[in-house]
């Protein structure tokens, strides 16, 4: 009786959460290893046969190994965007927190606007075309940076506020020039936020479906999420291959998350810098 009272709610919550998170994942895994006919029924049954390797190879090799191209593109996109995001957002957050200037209000407004205003697709495409950046990978990198930088700036700025100004001054006395102060003293101290930004944003950008769909047309530019269309069309969908594809696309971010889990939590919660 007391056991139920003490753990009842916890167990119920765990079961609920497990249901919501694990069942869909199990469904993906099961469907991915079924053969085509059984998968088409879309039910929660044990596979009758396991054409695992066959499904895997088909997904990889379809359309001239499009998934491989997609992996390369997505990786370039993610790494490029994250690098720019970290450096730019940390710089802006640092300068905005440290320097008192009359245009601070304007900067804050723009940052918040970037966070709140919905992106306007058609004008953006027009602008990209004028700049010659439409349907290029670096154009896409700029788009991802622009869409995500506001959030990162806010994260960085809050963290910089917890770093005592004496750190900057000690570096100045030691002879550091502004770039030295930022790259050698401040940026390393921002590591917890940087890890948070890297993980959260890389998952978001790697998994981004909508923006590459708008801004990155063309078979050479395909990103991993767009490969899902390979096995899905109006009249003919191979659910086993579709789910195998989903599985292959989901696993890398999952590994990143599991690997950095502890640091992410630390980065989101810690503020104080132990000196």
């Amino acid at each position: 009786m007391t056991l139920v009272r003490r753990y009842g709610l916890t167990v119920a919550a765990l079961i609920g959460a497990g249901f919501v998170f694990v069942v869909p994942f199990l469904f993906i895994v099961l469907t991915a290893v079924k053969d085509r006919t059984q998968a088409a029924q879309l039910d929660f049954t044990w596979p009758t046969s396991f054409p695992l390797w066959e499904n895997f190879w088909t997904v990889i090799s379809t359309r001239d190994f499009m998934l491989i191209t997609a992996y390369i593109n997505s990786t370039i996109l993610t790494v490029g965007s994250i690098t720019l995001l970290v450096i730019l957002a940390a710089m802006v957050g640092y300068v905005r927190q440290r320097r008192k200037a009359w245009w601070n209000g304007l900067v804050d407004f723009l940052v918040l606007a970037g966070l709140m205003m919905p992106p306007a697709v058609v004008p953006t495409i027009w602008l990209l075309q004028q700049l010659g950046l439409f349907a290029t990978l670096h154009g896409m990198i700029f788009i991802e940076v622009a869409y995500n930088i506001s959030f990162c700036i806010i994260l960085y700025r809050a963290f910089v506020a917890t770093i005592p100004r004496e750190m900057d001054e000690a570096a100045i006395i030691d002879g550091a020039r502004p770039m030295d102060i930022f790259f050698r003293v401040i940026l390393p101290m921002l590591k917890p936020v940087t890890i948070t930004v890297i993980v959260v944003q890389s998952v978001a950008i790697f998994n981004d479906f909508v923006n590459p769909l708008y801004y990155l047309p063309g078979n050479d530019n395909v990103t991993v999420q767009l490969t899902l269309y390979n096995f899905q069309s109006q009249f003919n969908t191979s659910y086993n291959l579709l789910f195998m594809n989903i599985l292959l696309v989901t696993i890398p971010p999952l590994i990143v998350f599991l690997f950095f889990n502890r640091q992410i939590v630390a980065g989101m919660t810690s503020g104080a810098v132990k000196g």
Binding site: E166, E169, I172, I173, D174, G175, V273, K274, G275
Partner: protein
């Protein structure tokens, strides 16, 4: 060599003037302590010397160079901060060597300098640790090491001991003194603790409200405070004060009186005073002696018998609280009425503006 000269230095934040015109000469190798209550502008003045704050007006010379607009790294200074401000992601070795690395010093020379500094501070065994693995006192050493390694002409310290516990503070104080003798560099040290100031300084600069109240050797300030503020600030326990009127003058002796005390004779050679002048009388607790027919009569409130001395809290007739520190053990008790005297040379008199009348006249200062 590196003398420091400050000429009518001023600092304003917007309309608020924080430093109100400071003139100061600091000789090479001197240990100078800026002391004053919290918020009087000590840190601001130090940071202007360091180059971390702009100088609003006036001139700062280090050596013979006008340094108002010189970058901190080119001023030949090093600074130790109150919070130590060690770089948390670097080892002690890298913390100490960071400045040298930025200056692109060759690796061998750098290594030697770092190890020399570590040896002077006896922290060679700490070189591989991160700041988070150090105790407060050890962090303090690293911060000082970071300053030493730059081989500056002038060391700047901003309340470097205030984060340490009392026992460690006394140790570090002695070490700083030793370090000063060893290095022979100029040191400027900020503190709000007058005991630290008295023990460390060759010269104390007492600041209040952004102005220099008095600058001089510690004993000089103790024996001949220029004004009421310095008299009250330097010396522990605090000097006793009482408003008095001049009753008469007999040669070098001024006789003062008040409602609360009988006639008291104060010997101040060469001082100018006229009967009827309103003044403030100051007597250090250590100058008071018991004497049954003494001019100062008080009711004992509290007695602290420490064996070698007795600290007596007492109340004058009008309720003014005074303190006396008497030699040896005195079996006094609460409520008792006691008479006190002071040798004629000990009391100090301040005029209506709070200036010490003995110092207002430079001739008198020498005679005293």
């Amino acid at each position: 060599m590196s003398d420091l000269t400050l000429k009518s230095i001023r600092k304003s934040y917007g309309a608020v003037e924080v430093i109100k015109g400071i003139d100061l000469e600091i000789a090479h190798g001197e240990f100078v302590v800026f002391v004053g209550p919290s918020g009087c502008g000590k840190s601001t003045l130090l940071r202007m010397i360091a180059g971390l704050e702009e100088i609003t007006a006036g001139s700062l010379h280090i050596g013979n160079v006008l340094c108002n607009d010189v970058e901190p790294r080119d001023r030949g200074i090093a600074m130790v901060f109150q919070s130590y401000a060690l770089y948390p992601h670097m080892t002690v070795y890298d913390n100490v060597g960071f400045g040298l690395k930025l200056a692109k010093a060759p690796k061998d020379g750098r290594d030697k300098k770092i190890r020399d500094a570590a040896r002077i501070l006896q922290m060679e065994h700490l070189l591989d640790r991160k700041p988070s693995q150090l105790s407060g006192g050890q962090r303090q050493r690293v911060a000082i090491g970071r300053a030493i390694v730059r081989q500056p002409e002038v060391f700047l310290f901003d309340e470097p001991l205030s984060n340490l516990d009392a026992a460690l503070r006394v140790d570090m104080r002695m070490e700083l003194s030793k370090l000063h003798q060893e290095l022979g560099a100029t040191m400027i040290y900020v503190t709000h603790d007058q005991v630290e100031a008295m023990t460390l300084a060759d010269k104390i600069v007492v600041l209040n409200g952004g102005e220099v109240q008095q600058a001089g050797a510690p004993i000089e300030l103790y024996q001949h405070p220029a004004n009421l503020f310095v008299a009250g600030f330097i010396g522990s326990p605090k000097m006793n004060f009482l408003p008095v009127t001049v009753k008469g003058i007999e040669g070098d002796t001024i006789v003062v009186q008040a409602d609360e005390i009988d006639d008291l004779r104060v010997s101040i050679p060469g001082a100018t005073a006229r009967p009827g002048d309103a003044m403030t009388l100051g007597i250090r607790p250590h100058a008071l002696r018991t004497g049954a027919d003494g001019p100062i009569k008080g009711t004992v409130d509290l007695v602290e018998r420490l064996g070698n001395e007795t600290i007596v809290n007492f109340r004058l007739g009008g309720g003014t609280q005074w303190l006396a520190v008497l030699d040896g053990d005195m079996p006094l008790h609460r409520g008792q009425t006691v008479g006190f005297t002071a040798p004629e040379g000990e009391p100090v008199l301040f005029d209506r503006d709070g200036r010490n009348i003995a110092i207002a006249n430079p001739q008198a200062e020498k005679a005293a």
